[in-house]
């Protein structure tokens, strides 16, 4: 075995291990800074038109809404899936109320008893311009929702511009949603 071959055979595993090491280090750093989430699910509906649906309303909060009504909106709408049984949804309510001063939010109660959802929404003042009930979570499946809360930014005409699966607050609104409104 000559010297160059021996050198190559020694270098290959070291370089391989080095590349793996740098890769893992970058992943761990991303997980720490929040730039990389191995459990994140990329929603394929972003960039597509909203799915078809028609949902009833909640008691005391008016009629529900349909995809046609959402498409007919002339302003962008933030669609928020929530439930009264979901703790992050309780936490995001003050944030939603503050965001609702800037843009309309349409709420969809996910797998929730209508009376519970209605009481939850009205307890501290509703952030929602309109609310509908997805009693059995079937509409949520069409949107690719995997849990609550999840939110979608819908452009006039009904195209989904953005999807978020964390509880919303004014910081996320400023960083993720407001820049996308500027382009409309």
């Amino acid at each position: 075995m000559n010297a160059t071959r021996r050198g190559l055979l020694t270098a290959l595993p070291i370089v391989g291990a080095g590349v793996l090491g740098v890769g893992f280090w970058k992943m761990l750093q991303g997980m720490e800074s929040g730039g990389f989430d191995p459990r994140a699910i990329k929603n394929p509906n972003v960039g597509r038109p909203i799915p078809e649906f028609a949902m009833p309303g909640l008691p005391g909060l008016g009629d529900g809404f349909t995809d046609k009504e959402l498409k007919a909106e002339t302003r962008p709408v933030l669609v928020n899936f929530f439930a009264s049984w979901c703790i992050p949804c309780v936490q995001e309510m003050p944030g939603l109320r503050s965001i609702s001063r800037n843009m309309p939010i349409w709420g969809i109660a996910y797998e929730d008893k209508p009376e519970n959802a209605s009481a939850f929404v009205q307890r501290d003042g509703t952030p929602y311009a309109r609310v509908a009930s997805d009693r059995h979570g079937r509409v949520a499946i069409d949107w690719g929702v995997t849990g609550v809360p999840e939110s979608f930014l819908v452009a006039p005409g009904g195209r989904i511009l953005w999807h978020g699966s964390a509880a919303l607050d004014p910081q996320i609104y400023d960083a993720e949603i407001r820049p996308r409104l500027a382009g409309l």
Binding site: R39, I41, K42, P44, N45, G137, I141
Partner: protein, 152 residues
């Protein structure tokens, strides 16, 4: 004591086996052929809540809803491919426990074949280099061998 813990373990394992698949027998389709097909499809769909279980194994509410969708579509006569595409359309490639073959998954799918070929090449080269054609001894070497072995 040992026997008791063995018994407890056996009961726990048996219970675990029963707890797999559907939570509630009323979820199952009355037609056993269709139910088998629905279970096979569900076993290839990821539960997006637990992420390392199939929707057939998971008891998350979303998995239950997706199992129901699979059964409705099987009963409606949809093909396996149509049902997988319906799911992929909503939740993306991630919902397939076995990703489809594409440019980004080519290395993943071809790795066993690549590893086998590489192993065969390495094995072939290793056996080849070990066969050394014997070179006849030179006169000096023969003389030394004779001296060492005491032959004169």
């Amino acid at each position: 004591m040992k026997r008791l813990s063995a018994l407890l373990l056996a009961v726990a394992l048996a219970g675990g086996g029963i707890a797999l698949a559907v939570d509630d027998p009323s979820e199952m389709l009355p037609n056993s052929v269709q139910e088998k097909r629905a279970e096979a499809i569900g076993a290839h769909l990821r539960c997006l809540v637990c992420q390392n279980e199939s929707i057939e194994d998971s008891s998350a509410p979303l998995a239950r809803d997706l199992r129901k969708v699979v059964r409705e579509q099987v009963a409606a006569g949809k093909s396996d491919q149509q049902i997988m595409d319906w799911m992929g359309d909503r939740y993306g490639e991630f919902i397939r426990l076995a990703p489809q073959f594409s440019w980004s998954t080519a290395l993943l799918w071809l790795m066993p074949a690549l590893a086998l070929v590489a192993g065969l090449v390495i094995a072939w080269r290793a056996t080849r280099s070990r066969i050394v054609t014997p070179v006849p001894l030179s006169d000096d070497e023969r003389a030394r061998l004779d001296a060492l072995s005491g032959r004169e």
